[in-house]
């Protein structure tokens, strides 16, 4: 074969005899609402977070339309400020942070370690309802007119902002509980529920990353909860804890906020890295170039990530000495991501590579994440950050990581695990089209923003200098392509849910442990107690040996 096969995989056409799965054991609303099955909870998280992605995405599209002209296009400055804030809040706390750990992590971590469920199934369901309550408060804030402080809630502005600050911070406070509960649950599950033979260094890498993320979530979220509490009290009761005129310190708030929110960046990207590790091995049919490099860099990111928060504040008023220390720790944390990138790339060497939609998303991820990560090293260079911080350069940088990295990995996960979760295949050609459009639309949206930032356009500007208009127009058109790509993807996935061909248990010929069971998996994940014969990345023997 000299060309790359772009057709859909051969799949059995005859309907398999009805197999009991987590999906078809009961169809009632109650069976979903009161389920303690981690797979159903994972699916409910997937639906809830996807809805939030759609909401945040709609805000983003409207914001981009507003920027078609330098002045007012479709909304006034009040609405604009509220909308970019709500876009940030919804995307960060309601989509990005729970998206992969709570949806895919919940679904796959127990299967990948051969467990029947998570360690605390009822706590797991509680986490979902806490998420809903938190989301409800954010919706209440939206209904009350939204918040206009930016997702960072910088004091003292947030203490006096004439908008719905209190319900929003209350919502985020509650969402934090959901994150902590899921985090603890996954930590305990990983420690105590591994099946016989699944040693720490035999776990699939996705489990390692959700484990690392759970540690960060559990340690960092309380600090966010604390600082947002104080913002709420400052706003509601005028306590003035961050009010300079009464002895408070507004810069202290920034330290507290970034102590959480910088590790939160790793909360968002680490699970994405786990997905990418799985995808690259499966579609290269090859062992990961260095398992230990991935594991230790995951833990390195999780811990060193706690010492870098000050790089958000190089011009916010800190001593030169502190800034230099934060500069050097930021350079250290970058190296861990670089190690991962090289390990993924080298994994493909001598593989047997099949180009499918998840691998296309891997390529999008590789390019966008490396590009975004490298601009991260650039903004961590203190002298350069002075010019770039709080401009569109930073906006472009973190969207390359958050959207170009996490969102493409999320899409990779959605396609990669779609056959396992639903038992059906998505249409491969439509997937290629979707992945290409996502990449093109994304690049067109955010690349111009680097140039805007270089030219000195600050972020969160409603009016802008007309010389910036051409770049803004390009960016807006790109956002339409990206928006269309999402609608397209949603469309074919919904159709495939009901009409896709049956997938079989291991359509990708993977060795990772979730593919040992049936698609979709039965209620307790494995019909018999699982026995994992091979290492999850052992491609030296044919797949039939998996069940030897």
């Amino acid at each position: 074969m000299t060309t790359i096969d772009v057709g859909i995989l051969p799949v059995p056409h005859e309907e398999a005899p009805r197999q009991e799965s987590y999906l078809n054991i009961a169809y009632t609303v109650k069976s979903w609402a009161l389920t303690t099955d981690h797979k159903r909870i994972g699916v409910m998280f997937l639906f809830a977070t996807s809805f939030m992605l759609a909401l945040g995405g709609a805000f983003a599209l409207l914001l981009r339309i507003e920027h078609l002209t330098p002045g007012m296009t479709i909304m006034d400055a009040y609405t604009y400020n509220r909308m970019f804030t709500m876009h940030g809040i919804v995307m960060v706390w309601l989509f990005m942070i729970p998206s992969i750990p709570s949806a895919f992590g919940n679904f796959f971590v127990p299967i990948m370690i051969g467990a029947k469920d998570v360690a605390f199934p009822r706590l797991n369901l509680l986490s979902f309802y806490i998420y809903l309550v938190g989301a409800l408060w954010v919706i209440v804030a939206l209904w009350m007119g939204g918040v206009d402080t930016g997702w960072t809630f910088y004091t003292p502005y947030s203490a006096h902002s004439p908008s719905a600050v209190v319900p929003a911070v209350l919502g985020i406070f509650i969402l934090g509980w959901s994150t902590i509960v899921t985090g603890i649950n996954l930590i305990v599950t990983t420690h105590t529920m591994r099946a016989k033979g699944v040693g720490w260094f035999k776990m699939p890498l996705f489990v390692w990353t959700t484990y690392g993320v759970s540690i960060i979530q559990t340690l960092a979220t309380p600090v966010l909860a604390l600082s947002l509490c104080v913002v709420g009290l400052d706003h509601w009761f005028d306590w003035g804890l961050f009010d300079a005129a009464r002895g408070g310190d507004p810069v202290l708030y920034q330290h507290l906020f970034w102590f959480y929110s910088h590790p939160a960046v790793y909360i968002m990207i680490l699970p994405a890295m786990g997905v990418i590790s799985e995808v690259v091995c499966t579609f290269s049919h090859k062992n990961i170039a260095s398992y230990k490099a991935i594991v230790y860099s995951t833990l390195g990111i999780a811990f060193v990530g706690f010492t870098t928060w000050g790089h958000h504040m190089f011009v916010a008023g800190m001593s030169v000495f502190d800034a230099d220390i934060f500069g050097i720790t930021s350079m250290l944390v970058a190296i861990f991501s670089a190690i991962k990138v090289f390990t993924w790339t080298l994994t493909m060497r001598k593989g047997s590579i099949v180009l499918r939609t998840p691998l296309l998303y891997f390529f999008a991820f590789l390019f966008l994440f490396v590009f975004g990560g490298m601009t991260g090293v650039a903004v961590a260079t203190q002298a350069l950050d002075v010019h770039w911080t709080d401009t569109y350069f930073v906006v472009a940088h973190f969207h390359f990581i958050m959207v170009g990295g996490t969102l493409t990995a999320w899409l990779a996960a959605l396609h990669y695990w779609f056959p396992k979760m639903t038992g059906r295949m998505y249409p491969e050609r439509a997937g290629y089209v979707g992945a290409t459009l996502v990449f093109a639309g994304f690049f067109m949206t955010f690349f111009p923003q680097f140039l805007l930032g270089n030219a000195g356009m600050p972020r969160r500007y409603y009016y802008y200098d007309p010389v910036f208009q051409p770049l803004h127009v390009v960016s807006t058109v790109g956002s339409w392509i990206l928006g269309f790509a999402f609608i397209w993807t949603l469309g074919y996935l919904i159709v495939a849910c009901f009409n896709g061909p049956r997938a079989g248990n291991n359509p990708w010929d993977s060795r990772s442990y979730e593919w040992y069971t049936t698609s979709p998996p039965p209620k307790h994940n494995f019909v018999e107690e699982p026995h994992f014969v091979l290492d999850p990345y052992d491609y030296t023997v044919p797949a039939e040996k998996m069940h030897a």
Partner: protein, 351 residues
Amino acid sequence: MNNLLRGWLNLPPQASTYAQDVDLLHYFVITSTMLGSVFVFLLAVYYVFRYRQRAPRATTPRVKTSAPLEFLIIGGLQTLFLGFWVVGASMYNHMQTPPSDAMPIYVTAKQWMWKFSYPDGRASMDVLTVPVNRPVKLIMTSRDVIHSFYVPAFRMKHDVVPGRYYTAWFQANTPGVYDVECAEYCGVSHSRMLGKVQVLTQDDYTHWLEGHPVPTAEGLIGATATSGGDLAKTGRAVAARRGCFNCHTIDGQPHIGPSWAGLYDSYVKVDGGRVVYADEAYLTRSMMDPQADVVLGYKPVMPTYRGILQEPEVAALVEFIRSIQTQPFPPSVTLPRVEPLGSGQPQEPKP
């Protein structure tokens, strides 16, 4: 080459002494990181073609990446990143440390305007006038929320925080008019909180100092500053009104607190044996948080003036203390020396 890359990267003019250095580092960092990204991506694309699947369900050999290769990659990258840090941090330290001969200008930000107060007592709104080729130090504070003073053409930015007095500096190297933008979100008119820096030649600047409108050629704004009297004089009045002279003298005599004469630009021994350089930051910190650095030999009795002194008053006071750096006022009365804390015999005041 510089102009070509600057054009490609869409960077504004390089109108301050450190702007070009920042841009050179920018070119180096961006070029090396982008080459790295492209290399990784092309390598991955090459692998996809080179190692495409040739038989369905083919097995692959177990390849172990050699440890020396891993260490080479990690070591090489870490050296590169630390190289960025060494250059970037030393440049940043230079950009954050005003030269001692810098000319001070006081900046007060409020929603949504900039006020600039000059040592000669004049003040202007939204237009900052400075001479070319002279270091200028901005002493900045905010009256309400956090703002950020950003001049893209100078590659300079610093947050302006209520209750804190930050210094930032630049030295313009080309006469002209440059944009000032607020870079920290500060409310509904954040994007309208714009100003200009007007950099004048030495001749024009002298002309402007004499109170004339500057010639408006070359796109200069031609604004004058309104005079509010000598800023140092205002500061002396503020000190009298706020009761500073109850404890501090301006003739060099120690009293309940240390004298202000000769204080600015000196090194002060404080409690705990540390030595603190008395610059604007020290002076403002001592007003807002007096217990932070208590001068050795004095009691920590000064109350905080946080929330009491208004921002223009602080600027005036600092300017007044600066003005008596070398020319103390002659003593009017001889004050009794208050017994220093924990020291031996009180010293007789010198006649």
